[in-house]
Every structure is written in structure tokens, then in C-alpha cells.
Symmetry: C2
Subunit: 309 residues, 2 copies
């Protein structure tokens, strides 16, 4: 499939439900709302279905029309695996019509798939799709796209950033997106409770494999009363420490599991590491879920790390 094929396919049908992955981030939300806004602009019925919408991302959905229609075609954006649909998995598994994604490991089975693993953010693909659709790049659309591109690259800092990423961001800035506002909200604002959580997380950080791996964790008690937003993005903390090749974040969930995020400099394969726990992702950033207590989870991680490094 080419970008033009994706656009032609979307133009041929109507009544779209666009779905994103659970724990939605700036990229899947940016993709979802940008595509939805473009389709609505072209006279289509479309809505975005998320498991939730964190407060700081609410502005992305601000000018999306609430339309009353029966969904016919399901489009997934930035979803590598049906398992990542969270509470929407049962509803959408097996009925996805079009998959648009930038994860090499994408394993969704669907009649139409467009995967571009060279895209740092899935929003890079949606930018091309919106243009190929012939939709106007409105203020809301470009803000959605910029949010996706900037958040998935850590504000153009992560190694996944490419010249194409930079040029798309340049285009979006030239078109008048609110890059300064978005960057301030996404990268330079922390709640007081978030700062307190960071302090506690640093206090409890664990090193292993001769300090080449740092593991941080949050328990349900540590994040009690905090929003998902306030507990997001801790994964960058261990990775930043000098000499650390693998940074791991373990977050306790209410269902008795720990959600694991692994970040590496790319020389250690984070995806391969997570696959042994049934997860996946990219070489530099991947994730998985481990069932167990804090102690058994940390022990399992440490044992796997000693083997990997």
C-alpha cells in the first residue's frame, strides 16, 4: 500500500471509528484526532475511540465534532498489537479494516495495512495521509500532528528522530502550529505531586549488572490519587544516568501485574528483551507485562538483565 492507496481507500468509504492504544500518548492521540478532523472536513462521519484521554491532551480533541452514526469501518492508528487496545480489545479484535502504524513488529491481521517503520512518530504517516486526502491542514490538525511528532521523539531528542521528522515539524511550525505552547505543556510542566513522585522513585531506584542497568518502580500506593498523566514518562529517568545502557520502569497495576517499559541506547535490543516476557516494541524502547509481586517482578527483571548485558 502507498500513502495514496491509503487516502483512496479512506475516500471510498464512510462511518469511521479510529482506535488508539491503551495508555494513550501524544502520538496515537495526535494521529487519531488529526485523521478524524480531516475525514470530518471531507464530509465523512468519524470518531476517535480511546480507553481514556489524559487531561493535558484534551485540547487535541477540542474541535472534533461529536457525530451520531453507526460505525462501519475501524481504523487503528499507532497500535502494534490488538492486545494494546486494553478494554476495547474484545470489541475491536478481528474487525479492524485499516491499520496505520510505525511499529515494525505490528502483528494485527487486517485487510489493509500501511506500516512505515522509518517514521519516528505515526503522526509523520498521518501528515502524509492528510495531504494525500486533499484535506486542509487546519490549526487543529497541525497541532495534533506536531504533538505526536514532538512527544514520540522526546522533542526531537531521541535517536528515532530523522531529517524527515525535522522537516515535517518545520512545515507544521510554518503553518502556524502552537509549538511553543505544546512543548511547554508536554515537556516543561510538572505537578507538585509529580515532583514528589520523582523524588520517591529516585530514592528507591535499583542498579544491577555493574550499574549498566537502572530500574525504577512505582507501586499502587506510591501513585495513589495521582492521575495517569502525573505518573507518565518516568521511563526517561533511569536511561539518563551516565553508564546506564538499559533503563527499566516497572509500574504496578490494579490487576496484580507490573507494566514494564524498557529503554536502551539501541545497542541492547529492548524489543528482544521484552519478547521473553510476551511483550514487544522497538530496539530502543519496548514494553511488556509481568504478573507477580514487586519482589518477584524485580527479581525476574534483574535475572533477565544479567543475561542480556
Amino acid at each position: 500500500m502507498t500513502i495514496n492507496d491509503v487516502a483512496a481507500l479512506l475516500l471510498r468509504h464512510d462511518n469511521y471509528e479510529i482506535i488508539t492504544h491503551h495508555y494513550p500518548d501524544g502520538d496515537c492521540l495526535g494521529c487519531g484526532y488529526a485523521l478524524c478532523l480531516a475525514l470530518q472536513q471531507l464530509g465523512k462521519n468519524a470518531r476517535v475511540v480511546n480507553t481514556d484521554l489524559p487531561e493535558r491532551f484534551e485540547f487535541l480533541a477540542e474541535n472534533v465534532k461529536a457525530q451520531d452514526f453507526e460505525a462501519e469501518y475501524v481504523v487503528s492508528v499507532d497500535v502494534a498489537d490488538e492486545k494494546l487496545l486494553g478494554c476495547n480489545q474484545e470489541k475491536y479484535a478481528g474487525i479492524i479494516f485499516l491499520v496505520i502504524d510505525h511499529h515494525k513488529s505490528n502483528c494485527i491481521s487486517a485487510p489493509h495495512k500501511y506500516i512505515d517503520a522509518d517514521a519516528a512518530a505515526a503522526c509523520e504517516i498521518i501528515y502524509e495521509v492528510v495531504k494525500a486526502l486533499g484535506a486542509e491542514l487546519t490549526h487543529d490538525i497541525i497541532n495534533n500532528l506536531y504533538t505526536g511528532v514532538s512527544t514520540d521523539t522526546g522533542c526531537f531528542c531521541y535517536p528515532n528522530t530523522t531529517p524527515r521528522t525535522m522537516r515535517i515539524a518545520a512545515d507544521l511550525m510554518e503553518l502556524g502550529c502552537d509549538s511553543a505552547y505544546i512543548n511547554k505543556i508536554m515537556f516543561e510542566t510538572k505537578s507538585k505531586r509529580r515532583v514528589e513522585l520523582e523524588r520517591e522513585v529516585l530514592d528507591k531506584m535499583v542498579f544491577c549488572a555493574d550499574d549498566q542497568c537502572a530500574i525504577i518502580y512505582t507501586t499502587l500506593k506510591m501513585v495513589e490519587g495521582l492521575t495517569d498523566d502525573e505518573t507518565e514518562g518516568l521511563a526517561s529517568i533511569p536511561r539518563q544516568i551516565e553508564g546506564v545502557r538499559m533503563g527499566i520502569t516497572a509500574r504496578e497495576k490494579a490487576d496484580g501485574t507490573f507494566k514494564i517499559s524498557v529503554r536502551t541506547n539501541g545497542d541492547v535490543d529492548a524489543c528482544e528483551f521484552c519478547r521473553q516476557f510476551g511483550g514487544g516494541g522497538h530496539a530502543a524502547a519496548a514494553g511488556c507485562t509481568i504478573t507477580g509481586s514487586l519482589e518477584t517482578t524485580l527479581d525476574a527483571l534483574k535475572a533477565a538483565v544479567e543475561k542480556a548485558l
Copy 2:
């Protein structure tokens, strides 16, 4: 003067001394070494003169040839004022031949000046100069330029970033600069001791004026054995906290004083605040010195904050 005029002027002469501002940052160093490398490549004698060269920037100078010559022409890069030459001020004041800068406020008097206040980083200008000189954009030159462009924009996050900044970075990345390595060193590497300092600073953070002000401090004991690099940039911590209109950093000095940095979003006048302690600066960023113990210094600050907010 146009960029081509700058290049023609540089091509006409020889034996250059390129000077940077004191407390050199990635932008002035990137400018200095990129220009020096380009001039050397074209058969000229050139050297860079800094007040110092912090360790993490040493790679920028790696392939600059040490040439033995008597300097004839002095070029300043990214230096807004002769006062900012630090210990080199006396040597170079009044003899600067060519000024290349992006500070609107540049007040150096020189026969040749090229100021582009729209450039987020002075390295954006040097990129154009190197191309106009007809020099090859070697690996060392593009690494210097990328370092300048990325550090002066906080990795493309600060509001000074423009589409031009993004496109120049895209060009440099396409030419093969080590953007991932540079970003990692500049933005994503903290020593273990730095992380420990941040934890201690967060532990001791003080809020006042209904949480509208956050004060952090370091004592001599807290920073014992740490390099300047490791204690830099703490001022961004209190400023990032949601609801904080005034972020204050107090650093104990060996002479029994505390060096105070005040950061605001501009709505509270940091300069006016610091003036009551004999200091000054800008509306959003100002500083002063307070003589006293930690307790009396914090008390004085808190009392002044309660009045100001």
C-alpha cells in the same frame, strides 16, 4: 552585510583568532570550531580562543589543527558585549574586526558586523557562512553546528526554535552528523552524583506564597566534589512545577554568601524582586547575592516572596 559579504571578507584575509563568550556554551563553541575548521580547510591560519572548554564539549575541538601564527584579524562569534569576554576582555576590547552574532542587543563596536536576531542559534548563521565560503561540510563541522543549534534551543523545545532551525538540523542530520550521540551527551546524560544531588535538592525544596513560589538550594556540603557541569541547570527544576509563578535557586558560595537565581514566567518581575537585594537582570530571569546563613537567607527570600506575590 550579507552572508556572502561575510564569506568574501573572510576569504580576503588570513590569520584569524575566533573568540567566544565566557562560560562558553554549545552555541559559541560550535560557531567557533565550525568556522575555524572551515577556514583551516581553505588554507587559512585560524584558532579559537575560549576562557575555558568544559569536558563535555571537548569533542568539538578534536580535529582542529593547532597552528603557529601571529593573529591578525579577530572574529567574535555569539558575543553580545565585550564584557562577556571575561578574562579575555582586556586583550580583545576594541580590536574586534568582524562580529557574527544573533543577539539583537549586540553592542560591540567593530568595522564589520553581521547580526541576525531571527536565528535561534548563532550556529544557524555559521552554517550559512560555511556554505558561502565554499568549504566542505565535514563531519566535524556539522557536529559543531548541530551542537550549537540543538543546545541553544533546548533540543528544539524552547520558543526561539523556528522552521529554519528545524530545517538546518534536518540538513545536518542528512549529512550524517552524530545527532543521537550529541543529544545524548547534551540532554540525556546525568552522572549518578548529579542524580543524587537532584534528589537531595528535591527533598529540601521549600514552597511558599500558597505554592506559587518554589525555592531550592544547594549548600557547599551538598555539591562537594561535583564539577561545575554537574551542578549546572538546577534552576529549571522549580520553574517547571505547575502553579509556580516564581522559581528560586540559592547556591551557597565559599565566601559566606548565597548566589540567588530567580525565574518567572514574566508576569512577576524577577528583576524588581532581585533589585531589593542589590541584584538585577530581566523580567523573567534575574539574580542577586545575599550574605548570611542558610536559615536567614531562606527567611529573607520567603518574606520578600510573600510581599511580591
